[in-house]
Assembly symmetry: C2
Homo-oligomer: 415 residues x 2
């Protein structure tokens, strides 16, 4: 379980009237967003954090003494209290943060890949070295959802977290839904606007969501969920006809992550999901994010906002800096165990669009409705176990690589 920490923390040593010195690893979009935040505070006459070093890549020129290409300069500078990692990628970000922690510096990162892969080790090291390890910006961009989870987990039992946590794919789904674009055009627009990478695999196949699900689940439940055990469906085989199919049924497709506490442990899924067009999820437009947390006492709480963008993301980093300066230290325990999700007992209805040949391979006793469409055959299943369904999809994908599968959310009764 998440352990409550009510110990007396030592505050940052601060010379009277002097800001806390920080070092920034990286000088990309998020780093520039943070620089802009801190500059704006300084302009208001309340400078709390001062950037002492900015680490550039070895081959970049150093136009100003604040820039350095040597991590050792930062590690050896006793005045640097906090190291903020905004380089992206697993390496050398991991090695740099490890070294910073061992040099007794607090660390903050917005790097979801890094936290998903190495968060457990960094948390353990930070705890041993009595420094802070925060990563609020790693999930939800500017939405303070990890902080909400942490505060709630200290008081209540969190039962479920779910949400739209990838802005790129929500932009694509929203463009396909409201502007009738096909997948390729919607992706192209997302790329043109800087929402999607040239190689969109991480977003459209759900790896970005996998990192985020693991991090949010760890903060919420105090457990790392083994990544191989998470049921993940890709989005990229979706076609305009799939959107249209659900539009006629007053439903809208969203790319949802979900972790649900059950008797045995956790269900964990990443799936395109048809939701009611009259619910809040369907109203999330463009690249916005939605996050829902259900806990035993506070019930359902929903947060909606900009899940990406330099300034919002830097806002979460900035709040982490404030937490450190107030004496807070950890978002997760250094010793959270890893467990496998158990998706066998969750039963969901599925929409499967596939070639007529592949459709013949699907056990028809699980099918409640069949449609012939321009894109192929559509099967709607009875509620089936997620584990069983994923085994079937693995088999079908060998026959039809363009298969598109999405879960169908049961619409709750209004009253």
């Amino acid at each position: 379980m998440f352990q409550i920490r009510l110990q007396v923390f030592s505050y940052l040593r601060r010379k009277e009237g002097h800001a806390v010195d920080i070092a920034l690893l990286g000088n990309g979009t998020v780093a520039k967003g943070l620089i802009s935040h801190l500059q704006s505070q300084k302009n208001k006459g309340c400078e709390l954090f001062s950037i002492r070093h900015i680490l550039l890549k070895p081959d970049e020129s150093l136009p100003d003494p604040v820039f350095t290409s040597s991590i050792d300069t930062i590690l050896n500078d006793k005045d640097v209290s906090i190291v903020v990692e905004a380089m992206g990628g697993r390496h050398p970000a991991f090695e740099y943060l490890k070294a910073a922690i061992l040099s007794k510096k607090h660390v903050v990162t917005s790097n979801k890949e890094l936290v998903s892969f190495h968060g457990a080790e960094l948390a353990r090291l930070a705890q041993e070295n009595q420094v802070a390890f925060f990563f609020s910006a790693a999930v939800g961009g500017g939405i303070p959802l990890l902080a909400y989870l942490r505060d709630t987990a200290q008081q209540e039992t969190i039962l479920e977290i779910t949400g739209i946590l990838n802005g790129t794919t929500n932009f694509i789904l929203d463009a396909m839904t409201r502007r009738n674009l096909d997948f390729k055009d919607a992706l192209y627009q997302a790329q043109k606007l800087g929402y999607a990478e040239a190689d969109p695999t991480n977003d459209v196949e759900g790896f970005d969501l996998l990192y985020k699900l693991r991090i949010a689940s760890c903060v919420a439940f105090g457990q790392w969920i083994d990544k191989e055990s998470i049921a993940r469906l890709p989005l990229h085989t979706i076609a305009a006809g799939d959107i249209e199919f659900f539009r006629k049924r007053d439903m809208t497709i969203r790319y949802l992550v979900n972790t649900l506490r059950n008797d045995n442990g956790f269900v964990a899924t990443i799936q395109p999901t048809a939701v009611s067009s009259n619910g809040i999820s369907a109203q999330i437009q463009r690249n916005n994010n939605l996050f829902l947390c259900r806990s035993d006492r506070s019930g359902e709480q929903i947060l909606v906002g900009q899940g990406a963008g330099a300034l919002p993301t830097a806002g979460n980093i900035h709040r982490d800096l404030q937490r450190i300066s107030k004496g807070e230290r950890m978002m997760i325990n250094g010793a959270e165990p890893t467990l496998s999700a158990d998706n066998g007992k969750l039963a969901l209805r599925y929409y499967i669009r596939l070639s007529p040949f592949a459709a013949e391979m699907f056990p028809m006793e699980k099918v409640t409705e069949t449609f012939e469409t321009d894109l192929g055959v559509v099967l709607i299943t009875h509620p089936v176990s997620v584990t069983w369904m994923f085994d079937r999809i693995d088999e079908l994908r060998v026959i039809d690589a363009r298969i598109f599968v999405c879960a169908i959310q049961t619409v709750k009764e209004g009253e």
Copy 2:
């Protein structure tokens, strides 16, 4: 401006392994919710706060030594670090909290009326006496919206706050919209379910919203808005026909509060407002609340959740206790100035449903459409100054006490 406080706070004196002793004023729904929260923590083996006294009314029997009918017992008990007020009403809650502060005890309250009327004085006193004053549960029940505002205001400029902050009236509007009830039946159901008081004036005429708007604005903007200057329209003259009028135009009525920063200061309104049926506000069902904060860096952030109820509300109180135990002290400055809202420059379109006789008094050059309905005449105005409109409504209400007026939100373009 909201002042950033990054001083070194002294932590609560705590005997090793001993919980912080608190006293609870009142034993109603919210108090019982908090008792349940703390009991559940104790059962998990992590008791951080222990209830030492519960103040009952003078005429109540004292079934257990934890109960007392004497505030002095609490004030004189040196072991009590925090006093939590959950009695409701302005008096004697105000006097008790004042005395607690003067006895150097931290205070927490969920009493919106008290904070709206006496928050400035309590904040000043708490600051002078170096104790904490928190009231997160006063607005939004279990939604951590004041904490979000405070954290954001420390970093950014908040430009606008808006939302559905009264669960009772949202329950009524939702029942009228989705279940076609008329106002009286919807109110009766809300009363039966315990959402509305026997005398619903505070909810349906917007006084509850007035308190909440003032408190949220003070946390967001560091200014108390003079209550007389807030443009407030009541809801209770609404009829099924008004809902129907907007339904045909894909709009839904919600009872919104709004504070908007402009060149001169602030616009502050509490109005039934027709919003797009495809937006998030229209999806807020039953007695849920929605809160939107727009700031210069994080953009729009929306929080949705249970705006009332014993357990969610106690969740916000519980988080306040944790804040105090971590060394945090204030949500607002003790010296926030009061200023008047200036609603003269905000122009909105209005829906006015009134008697044919009253309609004749309305300046027709401001009207863009007129409808004759079963309920009377409906006028739709051009965008008009809110101040001008409220002067007209005051005149018209003398002639037609059943007049219903609501603002019409301009629907934002999809892209």
